[in-house]
């Protein structure tokens, strides 16, 4: 009997721990008029200078080759890379944060198709990749492995988190080989280039302005957020929250973990409380569940901002709701390998390579749907790989390497 009691206690404790842990997902955050909470959040994530910078970049016409957004850049300060110029195919080492969401999967497929092109042209011999599966510790170990045993000619790092990855990126820089960081940033300027779309604040500005333009003052907006603590996501909300506050839009935010069950419960409860006029999302995953909650409740569709993920674009088209597909440019996954090619050719590259980022609007929705016909729901409209050899089969069949 004692064995049982110990086991029971263990399970009980574990159950509570996990329950507490797992149920952070449907969390409610204080209403925006809760001054203390808002202030705290602003201290942590809102950055006026960055907000203004990204707001300005939204209006800039990017430089670079036409029709190749993955090679375009905004307000670039170019750096000389002649010290790295050398002949021959190079070996790349890629420390990837994860491929655990459809956005990263789509990008990863595109990156591999780009790799094939560069292997054929003799610029890159191979790309050794380690997937950290969303773990900081694993990624630090991956980077150190590459430094010590990878025999790498260049490093590509897509950091799992900003602060934790900084020392490891610095160690990679210390090897004297070119380091290319993309997507999430790090707190050092030692990499040769840091590639990213305009950013989270621009996302927040695009989406919040769309909702504000299409709603009345005092209308209720439910903000569905994936998870706390990731800078690119937090910045999206920080910008939107600020703009909603200024425009007197009543916005409440929830963490959903992208779980459609949670999303549906949250929306159902909000609809039971009162009218919901708008839905704001910090990522498109789960958008369909949110829309279905309105259908099931038998109320009018909200004004909604999702992402350029096809599941949302298709549902948007089917329902005819007033929508905007905010974009965090997926084609950025091509750029790091092309940057490596430029660096070894001694061509200059932007120190901070800001790629264009513009949302899918109702005007170009049909065009993007037509261009991506046959693609799976988890595919991203602005994946930018139409000219690569595997197009469209590789993306249609979602052949994850």
């Amino acid at each position: 009997m004692r064995r049982m009691h110990v086991a029971s206690a263990m399970v009980g404790a574990l159950a509570l721990l996990t329950l507490a842990g797992c149920t952070t997902d449907p969390s409610v955050t204080a209403p925006s008029d809760d001054a203390a909470a808002t202030e705290e959040a602003e201290v942590e994530w809102f950055d006026q200078a960055l907000f203004d910078k990204q707001d300005e970049e939204r209006g800039v016409v990017p430089e670079g080759p036409d029709g190749q957004p993955y090679l375009q850049y905004i307000n670039a300060e170019m750096v000389d890379t002649s010290e790295f110029a050398s002949e021959g195919a190079k070996k790349g080492c890629f420390a990837n944060a994860s491929i655990s969401n459809p956005w990263r999967q789509t990008g990863w497929i595109t990156m591999n198709e780009q790799l094939k092109v560069l292997q054929e042209s003799g610029a890159i011999s191979e790309l050794e990749t380690r997937d950290a599966q969303d773990s900081d510790d694993t990624q630090i170990a991956d980077i150190d492995y590459f430094i010590n045993e990878g025999n790498c000619d260049f490093f590509v790092i897509s950091p799992n988190s900003t602060a934790a990855m900084t020392p490891a990126v610095e160690r990679a820089c210390d090897t004297g080989k070119p380091v290319i960081v993309f997507d999430r940033g790090v707190q050092t300027d030692c990499p040769v280039t840091f590639i990213h779309p305009i950013g989270g604040f621009a996302w927040g500005i695009d989406s919040a302005n769309f909702l504000i333009d299409n709603l009345e003052e005092g209308d209720k907006v439910v903000a569905l957020r994936i998870l706390p603590g990731v800078d690119v996501l937090e910045q999206r909300w920080a910008a939107a929250e600020k703009l909603f506050g200024e425009a007197n839009i009543d916005a409440v935010d929830y963490f959903t973990g992208a779980d459609p069950v949670e999303i549906k419960k949250i929306i159902s409860d909000e609809l039971a409380k009162g009218d919901v006029k708008g839905i704001w999302m910090d990522a498109g995953d789960g958008a369909v569940a949110a829309i279905e909650a309105f259908e099931d409740a038998g109320v009018d569709y909200p004004v909604m901002t999702g992402e350029d993920e096809l599941s949302f674009l298709r549902k948007w088209k089917d329902t005819g709701l007033t929508g905007l597909g905010t974009v965090y440019s997926n084609f950025q996954w091509r750029t790091p390998l092309l940057a490596a090619q430029k660096i070894f050719a001694g061509e200059e590259v932007p120190k901070e390579w800001v790629l264009p980022q513009s949302p899918v609007t109702s005007d170009d929705l049909d065009q993007y749907l037509a261009a991506n016909e046959g693609m799976p729901d988890g595919h991203y409209a602005k994946f930018g790989g139409e000219d690569l050899p595997g197009y469209p089969t590789v993306w249609q069949e979602r052949q994850i390497p």
Binding site: T23, Q105, D259, G378
Partner: protein, 368 residues
Amino acid sequence: MKIVSALVSPRGAVFLLLAVLLIAITVLNPSFAEPGQLMRFIQRVAPVAIVAIGQYFVIVGGEFDLSMGSVVTAQVVIAGNLVGQDESRTIPVLFLMLAFGVLVGLVNGLIVSFLRVPSFIATLGMMLALLGGVLYWTGGAATGNPDDSFRQIGRGGIQDVPVLDLIPWSVLILIVVLAAAIWFSKRPFGRTIIALGDNPTAAGFAGVRTWWVKTSTFILSSLSATLAGILLVGYAGVHPSVGRGYEFTAITAVVLGGVVLGGGRGWVVAAAAGAFALEALFTLLNFAGVPSTLRDAIQGVIIIAAVAYSAVSFRARRRGRTDVAGPPVDADDGPVDGAPETSPAREKESPPQSGATRPAIHSLEAEG
């Protein structure tokens, strides 16, 4: 008075908690009490309640099933990938999923029974194996929803019903499952499960085929997880995060329902009520607009308090009763008249078969 004492009794506590939560929700948001809204609420709880019912049988039989959440996840992903947009596949895939559910339960049960691996570890391993398989298959991202005909099971219902508006299929399925579970608990086999959880040695001496009883509880639980998966695909759609944490939600619901971890005591209806209470708690926090920072703490405190209350009052009653030399009751008949004091009388009415196993069990139980 009888009802009051039943409600404050350990097995009634969960109903009291549920009533308090529902009243609190209604006060915050009166429209919740409208029949249509209530139906929606039951529809939402149905998957959790069904999982809790499945977990009840495992727990009351003296084991744990930690693989339920990952069975839900795996089934959701199977539905999404195999049904696709092809309506004709709905029925074959449903059968495949049920078969897969039986297989998982069978493997769990056999490992626990014959390899003597504690169920805590065996099902934990199964959980990881299934989650790993899903990760390998999907890369961790959603694949797209299956055909609408498949999703109707969890999303649709009987339309245009007067007053209720919509009777979701999930609600009907939950009623059927609950009724079946109650019936099953009262059958000799159901009572044998409790006997086994109470004292496996005694049950073995009494001629119970331990391995089969144990294995069947695991099959029941993974079948219930399968059913929950089918409902969740319809309710919300396909995503690898669906089902996450369900095993612990289920265990907590069962414990809230006054079922004793380690087995031998519990009532399946109370376990289902535990699931309702948990979901009501989440809903209440949604309606109350509790800040995210406080939310987990409040949730945790309420759950601990509820479980502690039931444990303390249970122990108090048990101590009181041993003076009268009455054995603990197997409360599969419910709490309404279930003030345990009445148990010795009812004991005599028990069907002969389960009665046969009881004397030995109870004499040992008194020591432990």
